[in-house]
């Protein structure tokens, strides 16, 4: 395993995310996963490529569309799926679900339900690494929609001003829910980031090797004290914004557009760089892994209602009950 090529590792990570997500989507549609999910299918090259440049000590702050980032950083798919089923075996003991899944031990500071919220949090982690002279880097993932959030631009400024070891990764999938990026953003986002002094560039977000190369450069620059970077990954989501979209017919993208991007499926591209036997072996390995994850998650136990506010305070402070007789 140790000598396995990066090409195979990238393929495996993407396959893991894809299978996980396809299974989750199905389980959302049956209602087994409550609240639905924001499917990452189509964008796997970004999470796989960026996380390939990180060590376990590096941290990531993720988004509402976070499953791919959490898995690529190394979270156990069994516990991730258990989290989505809300059981006590979940990463967050069933308290977070899809939009808050976190594995802090692996440096995953959590998916986040508020667009753009992770950018200053990642910058804060980077600030503390810098202060303590630790060789660690933070990554903030966000979508193109987040570029309209003031707090993200504030974070760019602080990170550039203080040369923080943080990489801002924008997954430009062309849409913020239904709003096309052309109707949302003035100017070019790469130039915008560059104007803050971030080392900024765009990369093909459908190509895991290209993302991994660009991310490795950005991360290296951070480790060498060169200051923060902005990486815009041009990508696409194959499914709706949220699994809810599969249930109600929303129409904002034409089929030809979706078809063109699907023809550039990042898994297919990566599979051409790995020999066929390995692809088959990885596919079989992942299918088994996900089958086991489903079994594990389904066997979990729901938390008890009286535990609903457990973990609200780190020191165990308890609250008054809301109904008193």
């Amino acid at each position: 395993m140790g000598a396995e090529s990066r090409a195979v590792r990238l393929y495996r990570t993407m396959r893991l995310i894809r299978e996980f997500e396809e299974r989750c989507l199905a389980m959302s549609l049956t209602g087994e996963i409550v609240g639905g999910i924001h499917p990452y299918i189509g964008q796997e090259a970004v999470a796989a490529g960026v996380c390939a440049a990180l060590t376990q000590d590096d941290v990531v702050a993720s988004t509402h569309r976070g499953h791919g980032h959490v898995l690529a950083k190394g979270a156990d798919p069994k516990r991730m799926l258990a989290e989505l089923l809300g059981t006590t075996d979940g990463l967050n003991r069933g308290r977070g679900g899809s939009m808050h899944a976190a594995d802090v031990g692996l440096g995953v500071y959590g998916a986040n339900g508020i667009v753009g919220a992770g950018a200053p949090i990642a910058a804060g982690a980077a600030w503390s690494f810098q202060q303590r002279g630790e060789d660690r880097v933070a990554v903030a993932f966000f979508g193109d929609g987040a570029l309209s959030q003031g707090v993200v631009l504030e974070a760019f400024n602080l990170a550039a001003l203080w040369r923080l070891p943080v990489v801002f990764v924008c997954e430009n999938n062309g849409y913020a829910t239904s709003l096309p990026v052309g109707r949302a953003l003035a100017g070019d986002p790469v130039e915008r980031a560059a104007a803050f002094g971030l080392a900024a560039r765009a990369v093909d977000g459908m190509d895991a090797e290209a993302v991994a190369d660009a991310a490795a450069q950005a991360v290296e620059r951070c480790r060498a004290g060169g200051g923060p970077a902005y990486l815009e990954c041009r990508t696409y989501r194959f499914h709706g914004h949220h699994s809810y979209e599969e249930q109600v017919a929303l129409n904002y993208r034409d089929d030809a557009e979706v078809g063109d991007w699907r023809a550039r499926d990042p898994l297919r591209t990566q599979s051409t760089r790995v020999d066929e036997a390995t692809v088959r072996a990885v596919d079989a390995e992942i299918t088994t892994l996900i089958d086991e994850a489903v079994e594990f998650a389904r066997a979990g136990r729901a938390p008890e209602p009286h535990e609903a506010l457990d973990h609200l305070y780190a020191d165990g402070t308890t609250t008054r009950p809301g109904v008193m007789i």
């Binding site: 802090v104 990642a122 402070t317």
Partner: protein, 320 residues
Amino acid sequence: MGALAYITALNQALHDEMARDDRVCVFGEDVRIGLTQTTKGLHERFGDGRVVDTPLSEQAFTSLATGAAMAGQRPVVEYQIPSLLYLVFEQIANQAHKFSLMTGGQVEVPVTYLVPGSGSRSGMAGQHSDHPYSLFAHVGIKTVLPATASDAYGLLLSALRDPDPVAVFAPSALMGTVEEVTGELGPVPLGSARIHRAGEDVTVVATGQCVHTALAVAEAMADEVSVEVVDPRTIYPVDWETIRASAEKTGRLVVIDDANRMSGFAGEVLATAAEQFDLVAPPRRVTRPDGAVIPYALVLDQALLPNGDQLTDAIRAVLK
């Protein structure tokens, strides 16, 4: 110990805790020069890495503190104006406060939000005169409101050592006051009330600078009625046991709280009393009016703040 100024107490707590724990760091606007005086001398002593002058980016530096806390620091964030907390309510109430529960206990977010100069600043008008601690209590953020210098020292120290986010509101009316402190300074546990004056006939629960109003009124009415003055000190979580014991001893309750009446802390004390306390008369509260926005003209500013005359009337009303 001797005379201790309120502002010095806050400053001293920061000095002492930063010396004790090198994870404590300060973010804020003009904190190097100590514009508000609370951070005075910290930069000279602890340097750039621990006392960080930020650009005017409240939303970013509030969440920067969250990220730094998750990565192992114990940041203090100072805000120059209480209403800036509206700007960063997302970052505090929706991010920092929720991470412990949402991650199933994987992280602690030990950030202290320090607001030196909360409440009316006489003449600073609408956007600089709010006292928004009830909002924080409502969402469940640990919230303290020290009324004296020794409590300011002790509560800030506890806030800095607490594993959760804690908001510390230092009333502007008290920043320049001085307390005669006997004995050593030490931490004051969060969620513990202080009985400032023992009495038999009426319990006055007073917060922040209203504690001093209540003590003055109690003194002035001493011939007429024996007033017990209780300061919860922590707006959330509340020391209900001390408040209940006092209210049930006297059987009568008045709350004086310098915040808007609607959905405020005083209303919560009255509601709890109505549900659970054994009183002999309906309780009363003295507060700012509903939805008050403090006007510029000093006479109008003061007209909206709870005062001693109103408290005197309320005490007489519960005695009837």
